[in-house]
């Protein structure tokens, strides 16, 4: 970071004139996207130290999860990273499937990938456009919200809800994707790449944006790893760790995509890494779409795994067939066999490695469920990232880290 020479009087340390001001960037502030508090000690405009307070939206997810059966926990995983809730949902379903030893068919995996990549695009769009808003450029945000509406319409076709989707079931999806969903997906894949280029062109070589973001909020790869960074923030620092490549889940190994990596870990690199990840997500979307269209005949109607113990049968079967009625009863009343054991599964969320540590004691509800939330882990580094920075750089760092309050407090 360039050191600007201070042309002010040098005061002796400890003198009454040289004191730091305390600024409370409180839980409600136009710049805090979500409720988190930073108490900053400022020496003029420079930050000497920062202390974070979180927990203003603590909703006790982990305790709540001990009360709910496995299939009801999906609704609370939605509300963790609410900008990309399908990824949280799919991560939870994949964890349950690992515990219950359920193998999902390929078509289900590809459909899941479509939903997850759409969610990733949606999350990165919010983050990048808010970075623009914080540096004063409101246009990009409003322009890009239109395309988030398209993504919401796709979710609505599939699961009925726009934001907190509760999409999918253990073993697959609740219904097959309709033709309308695929039409909307095609429309999105047609229109969005040009919009992304246009959005990027507003910022990428924009001198004001570059001067505000380059060199601010930088972190080295070693410090980032020590702080437990994952996701785009770590990749901007130079480490190419992506859970989709390291431990592929949901058939990601069948897809061809690259992982963009930055070099300095500053705000500008994070912005560019997220933009490039959106491009790679588009690539994955196209491949997934072609693979799904390639299924023919009976395989094209498969949308869930054949696990009657954990996947509710169709209502018309429940009313007419005896086995379906029995399975329905068993699943709802919690009499299906859940294995005893502990499993840790992670997925690549919008912010990094979202992990689920599930300990099951054979009962309907988990004995313990712990969420490894990436935002919570890397927000600790905020005081180190902003040491010596100016106040406006601190605001930019906060928004470029993509802090989502629902994920910070569980």
């Amino acid at each position: 970071m360039s050191e600007i020479a201070h042309n002010h009087i040098k005061l002796p340390e400890g003198s009454i004139e040289k004191q730091t001001t305390t600024l409370n960037l409180g839980p409600t502030h136009p710049a805090t996207h979500g409720v988190m508090q930073n108490i900053l000690e400022l020496d003029g405009e420079r930050i000497v130290s920062a202390e974070q307070t979180i927990g203003y939206i603590h909703r006790a997810f982990e305790k709540l999860a001990e009360r709910r059966p496995l299939y009801q926990i999906t609704t609370i995983t939605d509300r963790m990273n609410y900008c990309s809730s399908p990824i949280n949902n799919m991560g939870w379903h994949i964890t349950c499937e690992k515990l219950l030893k359920v193998k999902t068919p390929k078509r289900v995996d590809y459909l899941r990938i479509i939903i997850m990549e759409l969610a990733r695009i949606s999350d990165h769009l919010i983050c990048n456009s808010i970075v623009g808003v914080d540096s004063g450029a409101y246009t990009g945000f409003l322009y890009v919200m239109q395309y988030r509406e398209l993504i919401y319409e796709i979710y609505e076709e599939i699961c009925g809800s726009r934001l907190t989707t509760n999409i999918g079931r253990i073993g697959g999806f609740e219904r097959n994707f309709t033709n309308a969903a695929f039409t909307k997906l095609e429309k999105f894949m047609d229109e969005y790449p040009k919009v992304l280029t246009e959005f990027e062109s507003l910022f990428k070589r924009n001198r004001i944006f570059m001067e505000r973001t380059q060199g601010t909020g930088a972190i080295s790869a070693e410090r980032a790893l020590n702080y437990g960074f994952t996701g785009p923030n770590l990749r901007a620092a130079g480490v190419d760790y992506d859970v989709r490549i390291h431990t592929p889940y949901s058939s990601y190994e069948d897809f061809d995509f690259t992982v963009p990596v930055g070099s300095t870990g500053d705000n500008y690199d994070r912005f560019l890494v997220r933009n490039e990840e959106m491009r790679q997500s588009l690539r994955i979307l196209e491949q997934a779409y072609r693979k799904v269209q390639a299924f023919t005949g009976a395989e094209a109607e498969v949308y869930h795994a054949d696990v009657p113990e954990y996947y509710l049968p169709e209502k018309k079967d429940v009313y007419t067939k005896m086995e379906a009625l029995i399975w329905h009863f068993k699943i709802i009343m919690g009499e299906t066999a859940i294995p005893v054991g502990e499993v840790y599964q992670s997925v690549e969320g919008g912010n990094g490695e979202l992990g689920f540590y599930l300990i099951s004691d054979g009962g309907r509800t988990p004995y313990r469920l712990h969420f490894r939330r990436p935002c919570f882990i890397y927000y600790q580094a905020y005081s180190e990232l902003t040491k010596g920075a100016m106040l406006s750089d601190a605001i930019m760092t906060m928004s470029s880290l993509n802090l989502i309050a629902g994920e910070l407090d569980s």
Partner: protein, 168 residues
């Protein structure tokens, strides 16, 4: 040398001998148990060893087992070796009346808030932690909510009728 669960187990047994117990591999991840005084030494060994290189702390959490007297609280560490792509998990058990565990913040800066969260939820006292106070709950709270004896709901709420919700 390819790092598999067996080679990790052998190396750990070679260094620590009988101190580490209960080696199992649920769902493919090596899990073992260590005595609570050795957690830092174990973490340091796993960090420094040139073959094991577990240098990424994925997560740290606690579990409460009220029906195991003397071993009620388990603190679980998940570690990840990024170069060889191996994950392991180890647990440290402690008594609920003296839940003192050495802090890992000197080795992993990420353990700072993870340990504060564990303290907030379970009351585990991390010895040597720079700032052990509540992080997610209100500061005035005087109990540790995730322990099994405490209910989920707020007992003082007046607008919801427990009988209608099937509890109480």
């Amino acid at each position: 040398m390819v790092l598999t669960n067996e080679t990790i187990e052998q190396r750990l047994k070679a260094k620590f001998g009988d101190l580490l117990t209960n080696f199992e591999t649920p769902y493919g991840m090596l899990t073992f148990e260590a005595p609570k005084d050795y957690n830092l030494k174990l973490l340091q060994f796993l960090y420094d060893d040139t073959e094991l290189r577990f240098q990424f702390l994925t997560t740290l959490c606690a579990v409460h087992y009220p029906d195991q007297p003397g071993r009620e609280l388990a603190i679980v560490y998940h570690l990840h070796n990024l170069q060889d792509n191996v994950r392991i998990r180890f647990k440290v058990f402690t008594d609920i009346n003296t839940p003192d565990i050495f802090t890992a913040t000197n080795l992993y800066s990420t353990a700072n808030w993870m340990e504060r969260e564990t303290y907030d939820f379970y009351g585990v006292n991390f010895v040597g932690h720079p700032n052990l106070k509540r992080i997610l709950n209100v500061d005035e709270m005087d109990y540790f909510p995730m322990r099994k004896e405490f209910p989920l709901e707020d007992g003082t709420r007046i607008d919801k009728d427990d009988a209608m919700f099937g509890r109480g």
